[in-house]
């Protein structure tokens, strides 16, 4: 590596060539004040706060954009510099209100801090200040232009970091203003990072404003409990309430290099809800009444023992949510195996692809790290709207593209919200995706790259055939294949809609073939990642929270209950009454049980049917571990003690075991993980107490170059497209709603607005439908109406319906056996 050596304030340091003077100074522990500098973005030199004196330079230089050179001699605190800094601050303060005590930013404001350290004591200007009225840019962001210092960090964060470009500067000079725009293809995603980026009180969070002064808040590092991206965050709490969530902070830094999406920033308020369960509830004379833990445990143990003795362990089932901590899931498995002696264990409500599929298991065997995305030269995203499902994986893709490192290839019938960042957008017709991957991309690879000859001979389709099936012209496949073949580091990400696809087995085989072909190339390394849905889906998968030998998956358990073979069900953190297929049938099945025990934060629809309800704690009150989608195990630290009698899930599970006569001797999450390390391959290294601030990756036994095999998929034919007013329904997790907890998050509910059904512009035109119009989705099983949303880049013949809106009984329309979800669309 090329290096340069320079001297700053008499101290010498050697840094990599290209390092700025500002960053070199930082390494020496020399603080230079800044405003517009943002470490992750190109410097723009707008604020002139970072001026330094450099020998042989005629004028002061901005250290944030001046690259260190060999022998440079820099001074950061000469009289000239100090005078300039004072001057800059005096200018900024001409128009800035001097009322920090009533500003919400007070205490964490860079202008306040810099003025205190470097500024003048008094101003020589006593003219009127410019005045603007404060206004709400949307439901979460308030803009007070009076406080804005035009550093443009917000605008750049929005455009270059998050790839949205909703914020802009209008007008010029002293008239410049920040404004937000809607239109074209851009819309604010409420990620909240512009608020994080603002150095002053110009952009503030509406849900947080004036709830507290920042110095009275307790800060606790935690991990987001929504999606599988595993974002790190800092919880800011007072007593037993979370008041704000921030990108994980590093002490002494104003800006974080870690980021969150809307769910991370604004989705926490369910934790504070008064409706949270606080004591165990036992059904007595038809009513759920509060009882003590002793009584609850005793009752549960008695029931479970009785049922086990009479009907055997097989008559008991456990459904444990992938939202639980690793410790919780491990104990749930132990409870099933060691104590209840039942193979009926599951963590999936909907039959989202069988994880038993061989191709899936090979592809998921060693996930690519999220960081790998940032250094990959080719990134392939298959089968998920990544901006909705994995916002922060998307951010890494944008980062790579922003730094001109990676080229992005997408393969999906709809738009992925990656806008200008995609190099090759392959949009197969819905139902032909397996063909596009398995015959299109692979075939194109055999034509453009020196792949294994034997495999090549087995692929005897033509690109023209694939073009006809998929609607993608041959050159698109060829260009994408060239990019793939030419890359040294490739990352392939595949998501939820591969697993929920009507032809998921073929789809997975097709992806496996693509990987096998790429692995046969001499150059480059290909990493593959399944993008799971929930915060600990990966943990649940790795722990093997699935039916044991001859065991039943959730749907099987429901059928067994209907037949009277399953007598007891223990539901931990899930709500099948809303999230499972055919809630009415589920309700009937649950009604047949002798004993239904539900453990949750709220009295959910399922809990309302239970005989015993156990109050669990949220992620903020829990010492536990999540395994992110890429295998990174990270630790949660409790920010406050549990609400009244609520207890961590692992604690309840251990208590239950004890009540049934088995003392696991586990008193802490660390003990549990030590045990898990012994029993579960890959978990050897992961000890809850050793995880530290940055977590540890699980040890996957499979090498990173996956040993995939060529799969024959000769007999494959794409789905026949539907015509007229019949549509394929895609059930999607909306960015603001991803499970049962988000339903209790007030702010997210506000952001997501009302439920909708989304149609392509083409189909809307064809059927003469307009935006906002009510339409009815109908199947043989039922029907319901929703307002219509028209999207430009959606695949023809599809309707996208968000799951998890209580008012959308989408799961009522289909039976659990159906893999292809077809509906009739009726206007009105």
């Amino acid at each position: 590596m090329n290096t340069v050596t320079l001297t700053i304030d008499g101290k010498t340091i050697t840094v990599p060539a290209g390092t700025t003077v500002l960053n070199a100074a930082k390494k020496l522990g020399i603080h230079i004040p800044i405003f517009c500098y943002h470490g992750e973005l190109e410097p723009i030199g707008a604020c002139r706060m970072c001026l330094v004196e450099i020998e042989k330079m005629p004028k002061l230089a901005i250290s944030c954009a001046t690259v260190a050179s060999e022998g440079m001699v820099v001074y950061t605190r000469t009289e000239k510099v100090l005078k300039a800094q004072k001057g800059m601050l005096e200018f900024l303060l001409i128009n800035h209100p001097l009322d920090c005590p009533v500003c919400d930013k007070g205490g964490e404001c860079e202008l306040q801090d810099n003025t205190f350290s470097f500024g003048p004591a008094a101003s020589r200007f006593d003219d009127l200040k410019r005045r603007y009225v404060k206004r709400d840019l949307n439901e979460v962001i308030r803009l007070d232009m009076n406080r804005c210092i035009m550093c443009r960090r917000c605008v750049r964060t929005c455009a270059d970091l998050h790839g949205e470009g909703v914020l802009g500067v209008v007008e010029r000079g002293f008239r410049s203003e920040i404004d937000m725009f809607k239109g074209g293809e851009t819309e604010c995603t409420y990620c909240g990072d512009c608020i994080e980026a603002c150095p002053v009180g110009a952009l503030t969070s509406i849900p947080f404003r004036f709830k507290a002064r920042v110095w009275e808040l307790k800060k606790t590092d935690s991990v987001c409990a929504y999606c599988a991206d595993g974002c790190r965050m800092t919880l800011e709490t007072r007593e037993q309430e979370i008041l704000r969530v921030r990108d994980r902070l590093t002490p002494g830094e104003y800006l974080s290099t870690e980021h969150l999406c809307s769910k991370g920033h604004f989705g926490f308020d369910y934790v504070n809800k008064p409706e949270r369960l606080r004591t165990p509830l036992l059904r007595k004379n038809g009513q759920l009444v509060p009882v003590s833990w002793e009584e609850a445990f005793e009752y549960a143990a008695k029931e479970l023992k009785r049922i086990k003795e009479v009907q055997g362990g097989k008559s008991i089932g456990i459904l444990a949510s992938p939202r639980l901590g690793t410790e919780d899931l491990f104990l749930a498995k132990k409870l099933a195996g060691d104590i209840l002696e039942t193979p009926n264990l599951d963590h999936l409500l909907t039959p989202l692809g069988t994880f038993e599929d061989d191709s899936f298991q090979r592809l998921a065997a060693h996930p690519a790290k999220l960081e790998d995305i940032e250094v990959a030269q080719a990134i392939v995203v298959i089968g998920t709207d990544i901006s909705q499902s994995n916002p922060l994986a998307r951010l890494r893709i944008i980062r790579s593209s922003y730094r001109n490192i990676g080229k992005v290839i997408t393969l999906y019938p709809h738009d992925m919200g990656l806008k200008g960042y995609v190099s090759h957008e392959l949009k197969p017709r819905f139902g032909s995706e397996p063909s596009a991957v398995g015959f299109g991309l692979t075939r194109a690879l055999t034509e453009t790259a020196p792949v294994n000859a034997e495999i090549k001979s087995r692929l005897n389709n033509t690109l023209e055939q694939v073009s006809q099936e998929t609607g993608i012209d041959a050159p698109f496949f060829l260009e994408a294949a060239k990019t793939l073949a030419g890359a040294e580091r490739r990352v392939i990400l595949f998501g939820r809609e591969v697993l929920s696809h009507p032809q998921r087995n073929e789809y997975l085989k097709a992806i496996e073939n693509l990987v096998t072909l790429l692995n046969s190339l001499e150059n480059g390394i290909t990493r593959v990642s399944w993008l799971p849905e929930y915060n600990n889906s990966r943990g649940a998968y790795d722990l093997g929270i699935k039916p044991g030998e001859k065991g039943l998956a959730f749907n099987g358990m429901m059928e067994a209950a209907t037949r009277g073979e399953l007598k007891a069900l223990y539901v931990i953190g899930e709500n099948p009454m809303v999230r499972g297929y055919c809630p009415e049938e589920i309700k009937a099945s649950l009604g047949k049980l002798d004993f239904l025990m539900v453990q949750d934060l709220f009295l959910t629809e399922t809990a309302q049917l239970a005989h015993l309800v156990l109050p669990a704690t949220s992620f903020a009150e829990k010492d536990s571990t999540y395994v992110a989608g890429d295998g990174l195990a990270q630790k949660l630290t409790p920010a406050f003690s549990p609400k009244e009698d609520a207890r961590a899930d692992w604690y309840i599970l251990a208590g239950l075991a004890q009540a049934m006569g088995t003392d696991w001797g586990l008193i802490s999450p660390a003990d549990i993980m030590t045990l898990a390390a012994k029993e579960i391959p890959g978990f050897q290294m992961i000890d809850n107490s050793k995880l530290g601030r940055d977590g540890l990756y699980l040890d996957y036994p499979t090498p990173e170059k996956l040993p995939t095999q060529w799969q024959e998929i000769h007999k494959y034919t794409p789905l026949v497209p539907l015509t007229d007013n019949r549509f394929d329904v895609i059930i999607e997790n909306n960015l603001f709603h991803s499970g049962s907890l988000s339903r209790y998050a007030t702010v997210l509910n506000k952001l997501s607005g009302a439920a909708y059904v989304q149609i392509s512009r083409m189909d809307a035109k064809r059927l003469n439908l307009s935006e906002g119009q009510k339409v009815t989705l109908s199947t043989a099983r039922g029907r319901f109406s929703l307002p219509l949303k028209i999207r430009k880049h959606q695949g023809a013949g599809t309707l996208i319906v968000p799951s998890n809106f209580t008012e959308v009984p989408i799961f009522n329309l289909f039976s659990k056996e159906e893999t292809r979800h077809q509906v009739e669309l009726i206007a009105g």
Partner: protein
């Protein structure tokens, strides 16, 4: 949120589409596109900006930034006659302020506005580069030097 409201009669976007096709795939052409669009429509109505944003995959925020940064672009429909009165330093000391008053009084509009009948638009500018002739105004591309409030009033009457 900047509200981009639609005007009642639909605009013919075909000529704009032609321009956009001409520049499709080329970067750094936004200003040229905006200039040519303004030539067609006389100003840059919201539909035009939205259309450019959508077809060019350019965030509206960026387009707005450019349009409001350069004084050559107009977001509102402008009058048939454009009166630009200079109030730069030289013109100011020679009484341009009084001329501004006359225009504002006679036309009943202020700096940056257009009369409701779309006959006149009025702008105050700062230095037209003809300080030797100050006070200076430009009316529809013709420069008028050594003005006085009376002369301006006279000219306005004659334009009626």
């Amino acid at each position: 949120m900047s509200q981009v409201s639609m005007q009642s009669e639909p605009l013919d976007l075909k000529p704009l589409d032609e321009i956009l096709s001409e520049y499709a795939g080329r970067t750094g052409t936004l200003i040229t596109i905006l200039q040519r669009a303004q030539e067609i429509y006389g100003y840059l109505p919201p539909e035009v900006l939205l259309h450019i944003a959508e077809r060019g995959d350019i965030p509206l925020s960026q387009i707005y930034g450019v349009v409001t940064f350069y004084s050559q672009f107009y977001l509102t429909r402008r009058g048939k006659h454009i009166i630009r009165q200079c109030d730069g330093t030289a013109c100011h000391v020679r009484g341009a302020g009084k001329i501004v008053d006359v225009v504002e009084h006679e036309l009943n509009i202020v700096d940056g506005e257009t009369t409701p009948d779309y006959k006149y638009s009025f702008e105050v500018v700062y230095c037209l580069g003809s300080c030797g002739l100050s006070p200076v105004a430009v009316i529809d591309d013709t420069v008028y030097g050594r003005l006085s409030p009376e002369k301006m009033a006279q000219m306005l009457k004659e334009m009626h």
